[in-house]
Subunit: 180 residues, 4 copies
């Protein structure tokens, strides 16, 4: 089978309709990155939050998030989405371990989990990713802000986060021993 | 949107052709369980290995493994596949935490990861699952055997495991501090 | 060295003055257990909190906590302290993995970590432990109560917890994906 | 109590006899670091092994290992021992999370765990630590070598490792998905 010998170099790109078909049939695999800044001793001191303008004009807060494509490794997907959202100078320290700090399950209906995604059933592997460089919002992000852990979990930020990701940020901080 | 209020009670079942379409387009999300028996102090003393006859007539070793369906939680998928493979009396202690001991990435081509699946690109969340009851092989399994950790990682077993799952069993044992 | 062949069967018991000497010289190793009840699917539905009367007469909340003795395994210490605090019918499911959900560092002075212990520098390996049996407070505990995750992290409970253990309970719930 | 307000800036240094007293009474808390080099994508590609000449003249292999002092954080102890063994230019990326990949329990008698330390009962929190700089053996180390994961777990290396640390290195590699 020639497909085994010469995989499509870009096998994951799908037309919108092919993607819609897949979305209706199987859970979508996602990766999410909570960007952090580290202090001199390696402890988390800041959390990075993206701001986007939603189609309705309201501002929402989010973390780096995106789909794993067919044929792509989880690690490559993580690096790709970080570069897409935070630019090529972000210098992420991708985690040596493939084990996420949590597995976030997004359903299009409420009540199953703390996470919601109206478009689809998605399962996200979520990682805390230290950034050694300069993060510049790209793609459809309006702004990127470094916040203290206390500010990042404050109601004014957490309540504006997409799909329940306020919980995700708190889980991220708990996993590194920095939940305020 | 009525779909949000009354989700299909069985949304994940797909025709073979619909599943084949999805498989060609996105990574399939799987769960895998390495069944274990615990000693009195809660430490792992035995590992459960399934034996199957492959289409070509050879015997292969495997662990519990299966797809997460659309609309199904990871936890429900794990329980469903354990019951399917080990019977209703297995009494699995599903892990309180959604965090797997590893994320195993299966590709249809070699060299990307230690794991291979000729059918598809699959990403498996893998858990160590203690069994408190009686495990009886069902589905297409020929036999189920409890082995010591040393036997489970011996070449005679590990080399016969499907898709590189000898590595998965060793990672499972390492995660519980019982790698021989 | 005969000590290697015939270890003291009870090597960890120390006089108060010998323990005080050690406490002044090295960090004390502790284990802590956050007791939980699981639902049918294995998810955490209740958190167990102990109530004690402090020497000053106020009521404090706490989790299972105690020292690892010389010559004792972490697992044995965990089982011993659970039995001491919750009785012999608690039927704890000790974790197969030795990896804690967090490492809590208690210092006798504030500002270094969220955790305080006026008596000593202690480092605790903390585990979420499902209880399958009946928990009865023993030792110096006044009462034991099962609470929902939301109640367990509410200010009225969390603010009364000894040494910053409100943070520990929240980290425990975050590690199992149940932080409210 | 003035000790609470003005802690000894160097509270952890002990005379040999005071340390021997503590060692006989309570488990000693250790940290261990398995140094690694990362590839461009953040995956572990090399493992660092230290070589020492033992008092009997034989060469033993080891990882970075040392005691946590009274009043010292786990993170500070990890950084201090890495600098002591690998020099000030090693540029370790200390882990954001305090959760170790394993808890290694060393006993002075065999049979309790895979780990042995003739001097003491020690409990080590073990971390995989990426090194971004130049590692130069210091202290009592003879040499420091970067090895592939396959070489690091080969019998010729693993069998020469102190106190069962061949198992520790394999657990470290398993935790990052790189166990050969």
């Amino acid at each position: 089978m020639s497909f085994l010998r010469t995989p499509d170099p870009n096998p994951g790109w799908l037309s919108e309709s092919a993607l819609a078909d897949a979305r209706a049939r199987v859970p979508m695999l996602y990766v999410e990155a909570v960007p952090v800044q580290l202090g001199d001793g390696g402890e988390v001191i800041k959390v990075g939050i993206l701001l986007r303008v939603s189609p309705s004009g309201s501002i929402t807060h989010c973390v780096v998030s995106g789909r794993v494509m067919h044929g792509e490794t989880v690690r490559d997907a993580l690096g790709r989405h970080i570069e897409k959202d935070l630019g090529p100078a972000a210098l992420p320290q991708l985690p040596p371990s493939p084990v996420p700090f949590t597995v976030a399950e997004y359903f299009p209906w409420p009540g199953v989990s703390p996470f919601l995604d109206a478009r689809q059933h998605a399962v996200a592997l979520a990682y805390v990713v230290p950034m050694a460089g300069d993060c510049q919002p790209r793609h459809d992000a309006l702004e990127f802000a470094w916040m203290t852990p206390a500010d990042a979990v404050s109601p004014s930020v957490a309540d504006e986060m997409e799909g329940g990701r306020g919980t995700l940020v708190r889980q991220a901080l708990a996993s590194v021993g920095r939940l305020p």
